[in-house]
Symmetry: C2
Subunit: 270 residues, 2 copies
């Protein structure tokens, strides 16, 4: 079991959540560095088994960090949090269509089960610490994300293709980026694909399906990681009557240090 960081260390994470609760809307890449961020998907109770099973069957895009049962809105990963308000932006899905993007999900919150899913922003801090550039942070943009042609393992009524995030990495640092991210299986782990976007069925790298436009410089290779937006594509494809998610790139900032998910600093958890 992971634990929140000591009270005195987690001010940056708490301040970020407070700002989003107060209405600020911004992508969270680079926010509260060192603290784990999470994707959110919330569904009515009669879809909860299938969403949890979809995650269990597709652990690389959907590593489960926490599950909030019906009636719970505070995550164990962030004492005092409220998942209805503490993310910068939410998407409201009805019958497989995004009908609205809102900064406060409270009016929509009724009998929902919430999954918090690992996010690759978590290993950006160790990538930066190793001198590997994180381009979308440099540019102040949201990370580019793409639908692929790789089907996930379906679960009941839920099915859909894998979504990936992309970071351009200098060719001589790809091995390091693989090794560093591979230490964090709970936040998508090692890349699923390195190089030619066509290998994932991505036709135009310059037109991501979610997030901001990419910038790949000479000598850099596009590197693709499994992405926690994958359940959103499953919602689009599988059309449950209702669901709520975070807006891509606008994550739940937790009080848990990234190092808790670093298997190279294993604390002996199973």
């Amino acid at each position: 079991m992971v634990s929140p960081a000591p009270e005195e260390l987690r001010r940056a994470a708490r301040d970020a959540r407070a700002a989003y609760r107060a209405g600020r809307v911004d992508p969270t890449s680079g926010v509260a560095p060192g603290f784990t961020q999470a994707n959110l998907v919330a569904v009515p109770a009669d879809w909860a088994f299938e969403v949890l099973l979809f995650a269990q069957r597709n652990p690389q895009p959907c590593p489960v960090l926490d599950v909030l049962e019906v009636g719970q809105v505070e995550s164990a990963l962030a004492p005092g949090s409220d998942v209805r308000t503490d993310l910068p932006a939410y998407r409201v899905f009805r019958d497989g269509v995004v009908v609205e993007e809102v900064a406060d999900a409270t009016p929509y919150w009724e009998n929902l089960v919430t999954l918090l899913i690992g996010c690759s922003f978590t290993f950006e801090t160790p990538l930066l610490a190793a001198g590997i550039p994180v381009r979308h942070q440099e540019l102040g943009r949201n990370v580019p994300m793409y639908r692929t042609d790789r089907p996930c393992v379906p679960a009941g009524r839920l099915h859909g293709d894998l979504v990936v995030s992309m970071r351009p990495v200098p060719a001589d640092r790809v091995a390091d980026a693989v090794a560093i991210s591979g230490r964090f299986p709970a936040v998508h782990g090692a890349p699923v694909h390195v190089g030619d976007p066509a290998g994932l069925g991505i036709r135009d790298l310059d037109s991501p399906d979610f997030g901001g436009p990419p910038l790949v410089r000479d000598g850099e290779v596009p590197v693709f990681w499994a992405c926690g937006v994958t359940p959103q594509v499953a919602l689009l494809e599988s059309r449950p009557p209702f669901a709520l998610t975070h807006a891509p790139g606008h994550m739940f900032v937790t009080d848990v240090l990234d190092s808790e998910y670093d298997t190279a600093c294993d604390r002996g958890a199973a």
Copy 2:
């Protein structure tokens, strides 16, 4: 994703399942060595989310190897299998009471979701290969299992204490037993406790709650591993109207090689 072994290798596993399907009732420790065995818990659909969430929150006792949705009876871990008949013995739970033990669960199988959960028998083969004795196999007995006083993390209506299996290990081989079993997190991994049973709230080591009596020789230490019978204690405590499980020690023998779950032979799965 793990895969079943090639057709020509898995005869021992297939033969074992065929014998149990034909009515043979025996504990499965030592059967089809090298093939992964699994615990079974099957519940009506309206308890499925909570059972899966209980497993997700308690991964050491309840590592999920496969989930069969309503209407499925063949596990992906064993092509051609039928989980209603291919285990040596089943327990029928009604309102938290074991009302029957049967060799064929077909008559009870209606709208059930089935979880197959990793079993520590899986790492007995590598323990033996390292020269570490597996006493209950030597004696031709079922492994001794105990209820502990360590609460699992509850999930909805499901709650209960951890169950452990016990193997006596020579004092100078405890470190090796820890290292070897620790390579297999999907089948309970490293021990949860080494030594004094009182530390787990076990009053009398000679009276296990499940399985056969232990025999600890001079110079040996009792070593306790998390056990896939844990969900059965949750069923006893939480009293769903109906559930089916394997009889303790009478497991589902799969076609998957133990090495698929050995993180020291990692095939790159996430």
